[in-house]
């Protein structure tokens, strides 16, 4: 049996996203109808707190103010929820890096922009990012493969900026793939340790990390 899903599959990623006064995208605005979005937001919170496997469908439905059965009107399985979250989150992450990579400016400026905004997202949306970056293994093989492909695109964008800097003679990087890996690893891990009650704002972490990465690539003033 095939259920009709209310979340529109063909919708281009961020086209319907609404902007707030702060300029940030209102997250999940592309998920409709309202009940499906509430369930998804509840799932993000629950997965981030307890992890995918420790979260029950009853918990998700409860947070969304619905009965356990309501979940299965909008999503085929619990795994589909994780898949949608992961897909939308990775689309957003790739979008962020790509914007910086395709921007104007020197390699150093583009790398700083990329790291700053990537880190800001991982800190500011650390609830989402934690699910997106650390619950990948809970997906089935096809879904995981799809997400891994997106990750490789993120990696390629960052590597190409660093490569540009090396070729322009601005950076000193003996091992470009290795350094790319390290830079991304550093940024992604922000989602694991970032704490809203901690001493640093997402902006401050972004600035700190942009500086650290500038040093890692041996940028010459």
């Amino acid at each position: 049996m095939v259920l009709t899903l209310s979340v529109k599959k063909g919708r281009t990623a961020m086209s319907a996203a609404q902007e707030t006064s702060g300029g940030e995208m209102q997250p999940w605005s592309e998920v409709t109808p309202d009940a499906a979005r509430r369930l998804l937001v509840a799932a993000v919170e629950a997965f981030a707190e307890r992890g995918y496997h420790a979260t029950t469908t009853r918990d998700i439905a409860g947070r969304a103010g619905m009965s356990p059965a309501a979940l299965y009107i909008h999503y085929k399985t619990k795994e589909e929820l994780l898949h949608r979250i992961s897909r939308i989150g990775h689309d957003k992450a790739l979008d962020i890096v790509r914007s910086a990579a395709e921007g104007e400016g020197t390699a150093a400026e583009r790398l700083s922009d990329a790291v700053r905004s990537f880190v800001r997202w991982h800190a500011g949306q650390h609830t989402t990012a934690r699910v997106v970056q650390y619950e990948l293994d809970a997906l089935g093989p096809e879904a995981r493969a799809e997400i891994i492909a997106l990750r490789r695109q993120v990696d390629a964008e960052v590597r190409s900026i660093i490569q540009d800097g090396v070729e322009a003679g601005d950076f000193d990087v003996p091992d470009v793939p290795g350094t790319t890996l390290a830079v991304l690893s550093l940024c992604i891990d922000v989602a694991r340790w970032f704490n809203v009650d901690g001493p640093r704002t997402p902006d401050e972490v972004g600035a700190l990390y942009a500086d650290l990465v500038r040093r890692m690539v041996g940028f010459k003033e």
Copy 2:
């Protein structure tokens, strides 16, 4: 009811560890008797592959070649298994960092040593490290608090090396706690992405990361 556990609790962490010809410690040699160790090793593998919550006690026992009930002769609960793994692993990690921190040499040399050996452990023992670093949330409050205390000691060791370098005028670090956090985050995340079939050996990753961290602290030749 209180079961008598066969794993001796009072044993000092690494005192009974046996060295192999390679100079590496034989992991888990301090866990006795043999059946308890086999169960623990099986649990490490299973937790690393699937995560704590997705691993069943039947799976652990099966990997150790025993019936599900055998697990409860040696461990009170599944969580106690994770606790022991986490405790021993963190003891080892702290030991590694502390050895480097207390060594002779300049701050730059000690920092490089610490990062190199810390990373080498996270890569070489990435199965263990993954459990130790990423399954912390599955522990109960008291056990988690104990582990977090160990982590703070690791953080303190690294911060003190960096602080030494700053005070000696060797390093240029505007934000010592932030940089310490970033360095540790970078090293720990190795456990997440390291792949035995990948292009890099643990030694190579250690060398690469020691160099990257040297740059992050602005070491002046």
